[in-house]
């Protein structure tokens, strides 16, 4: 019996004002995250993957949720009081970002910043918080935590800063950790360490991870389920093994094919997707991928719905609709 979802996002719309009028960065995104599960959201720039994650926490800046709902443990977060959201952030839902240096305060020691999270949300006494900060920094693998607790962020490497961010994120043992490209700015050996750490955190604490990334390798190694986003929409979702192993959507297929791997033959051109990712202000009509799609046909002038293509799997493509010629997933797999 699967546990009820921790986070349920339903038909989310996020709108940003621009001088040329409002644009929709996210149009009708739905997904859920169960306790202890890792869900990856993968996409290229402008896909809306980060905006979807920020919307969960009510951190949209100039943007606003124009429709849909975000429920955490059944509680509606869209329209929730700022105070309530502030209490949830850090305590029940924590977030780590790509660039730790812009999330850490340069004027305070890293120990103070970890302790602050405990004092703010847990009202932990100062002395206990300091001692707990050292423990947390040790847990995230910061070398020499007794000494490092007194370091300022700039005295640490990028990987060490990200470890501190994870320690702050874990301070109140959140049920959900949202990670927005947390390893993108790191060297590959340090990235491997941080992914290893996140895996360990999840195993030891049962934390659910919502992991935003552009890297299919990271998805493959870390996640249970994946949502593939393109131009503000979910185009495919399902288990990682199924989506990556036998993509149903032509975009997923083309994206996977355009990633160089150790097996990519060097003497032939890479399978590339023609054109570029559309801008939210200039969205193609119908299927948003149709101008670049190798399988485009007449029906693509109308936007396709998400078709169920298996248990817990769906793909937004007319090729799955009954009566469409050559509509099999296997056919799509031959592209590229």
């Amino acid at each position: 019996m699967p546990s009820p979802p921790l986070l349920e996002v339903d038909d989310l719309q996020v709108r940003f004002p621009t001088p040329a009028g409002p644009i929709d960065a996210v149009s009708g995104v739905s997904f859920s995250v169960s306790p202890g599960e890792t869900v990856a959201v993968v996409g290229e720039s402008g896909s809306g993957k980060s905006v979807s994650a920020l919307a969960v926490l009510g951190l949209l800046g100039a943007g606003r949720v124009a429709g849909g709902s975000v429920r955490f443990r059944g509680e509606e977060l869209v329209g929730a009081a700022p105070d309530r959201l502030r209490r949830l952030r850090g305590a029940d839902i924590a977030m780590i970002f790509q660039n730790p240096m812009s999330s850490l305060d340069p004027l305070f020691t890293v120990g103070d910043q970890v302790a602050e999270a405990l004092r703010e949300h847990r009202r932990t006494p100062r002395r206990t918080a300091k001692a707990r900060a050292v423990e947390l920094l040790r847990e995230v693998g910061l070398p020499d935590p007794e000494r490092r607790v007194r370091s300022y962020p700039h005295e640490l490497s990028g990987g060490q800063q990200q470890r501190v961010m994870i320690a702050i994120g874990l301070a109140c043992e959140p049920a959900l950790l949202i990670c927005d490209e947390p390893t993108t700015a790191l060297d590959v050996t340090v990235e491997a360490q941080i992914l290893d750490l996140l895996r360990r955190v999840q195993r030891d604490h049962g934390t659910a991870l919502l992991f935003i990334t552009h890297d299919m390798g990271v998805v493959s190694e870390l996640a249970d389920r994946v949502l593939v986003m393109y131009a503000g929409r979910v185009v495919e979702h399902g288990s990682v093994a199924e989506v990556l192993g036998a993509p149903g959507n032509p975009y997923t297929r083309a994206l996977i094919d355009s990633i160089p791997t150790p097996a990519t033959p060097r003497d032939v051109p890479m399978p590339a997707i023609a054109g570029s990712v559309p801008h939210a202000s200039d969205m193609p009509s119908g299927c948003r991928f149709h101008p670049r799609c190798p399988r485009v046909h007449d029906r693509c002038a109308t936007e396709p719905p998400l078709h169920d293509i298996g248990p817990g799997r769906a793909s937004r493509c007319w090729l799955h609709a009954a009566g469409t010629a050559g509509s099999t997933v296997a056919g799509v797999r031959g592209v590229g």
């Binding site: 060297d187 390798g217 150790p262 990712v277």
Partner: protein
């Protein structure tokens, strides 16, 4: 210079660059040698602090080496006079990571791509315009784009403009410094294909620098792995990545998140430690504090370069035959 047949287009020998900062010396590049044959690609991979971008700037003499030799088409670049260097610069160009950062936002495409033609006195007026159109078409753009500004293009298109600009002076060598790293993966593949096509059409040589191992492998005839200012291993990319012989190359290759649908959720042992600062490189082998196979000699003696296979070398004490 010794005459070999065919003579390589570019050669760096024992290249050293030390920066002095607040009393300490940063040994960014510390004895790097490589040659780039005509029409071929040499790839440099390494993590931050490995010195790969400094090598790019030294190769073009945008930075003055502390010591070492550089030659281009048989001419000693370090001994070259101002005029000679200027003439050689025409034949060596660079494409940077951020196309928007390297294109003047106030310049129209005509002037951004045509600027090198004016600077080197190669074409003016109508001839310059015609040459710019030819270059744009070569990189997959068109005359319609002449009057646009950089911000009107997507990242991939802007990088095509950067490549057109680099091609303007008819170079023999292009240094690609993380030239595709900022691009989305679907667009990255287009630009990689473009670079390969241009190489085939124009006989270009590339020094291709990137942190993405798979991208470097795809592009390069020879790959050099750098660590803290040194090349620790070199050779054919397929062989090197399939069977790395230096423990650092091995760590680097195994750290890349593996895209493997048949084997998802695979947890691998994470590499240990982080690269120390190039201002305080460890004694002996610079990798020894992180090396899972270090033994006593590694902390005292610097390893020499050993041949490990035809066209492959690695600098590691483990490879000594009589050990």
């Amino acid at each position: 210079m010794a005459v070999t047949d065919p003579a390589p287009l570019f050669e760096a020998r024992d290249l050293v660059k030390h920066f002095r900062s607040r009393g300490s010396t940063v040994r960014a590049v510390d004895g790097v040698s490589f040659t780039i044959p005509r029409g071929r690609t040499v790839g440099l991979v390494g993590e931050s602090g490995s010195g790969k971008s400094t090598v790019a700037r030294l190769a073009l003499r945008l930075l003055e080496p502390t010591s070492g030799e550089l030659s281009f088409d048989g001419v000693d670049l370090r001994g070259a006079g101002r005029g000679e260097l200027r003439a050689l610069r025409r034949r060596m160009q660079i494409v940077f990571q951020d196309p928007f950062g390297s294109l003047n936002p106030r310049m129209r495409v005509l002037d951004a791509v045509g600027e090198p033609l004016s600077v080197h006195g190669l074409a003016r007026g109508r001839a310059r315009r015609d040459r710019v159109v030819e270059l744009l078409e070569r990189v997959g753009l068109s005359a319609k784009d002449l009057t646009k500004f950089a911000h009107q293009f997507s990242g991939g298109q802007a990088q095509r403009i950067g490549i057109a600009r680099a091609l303007a002076t008819d170079p023999d060598l292009i240094v690609c410094d993380e030239a595709v790293s900022a691009l989305d993966v679907s667009v990255q593949a287009q630009v990689l294909n473009l670079l390969k096509r241009l190489q085939a059409e124009l006989g270009l040589s590339y020094l291709f620098i990137a942190h993405d191992l798979n991208v470097v492998r795809y592009m390069s005839d020879e790959v050099c792995v750098m660590y803290l200012g040194r090349i620790v291993e070199r050779g054919d990319g397929d062989a090197l990545f399939a069977d790395p012989r230096h423990p650092y190359s091995e760590m680097l290759v195994s750290a890349v998140p593996e895209f493997d649908p048949a084997n998802t959720g695979r947890a691998r042992p994470a590499p240990r430690g982080e690269a120390p600062s190039p201002s305080r490189p460890p004694s002996g082998c610079r990798f020894h504090p992180r090396c899972p196979r270090a033994f006593d000699r590694c902390s005292t003696d610097e390893p020499v370069v050993h041949p490990v296979a035809p066209g492959r070398t690695a600098a590691c004490h483990l490879l000594e035959v009589d050990r």
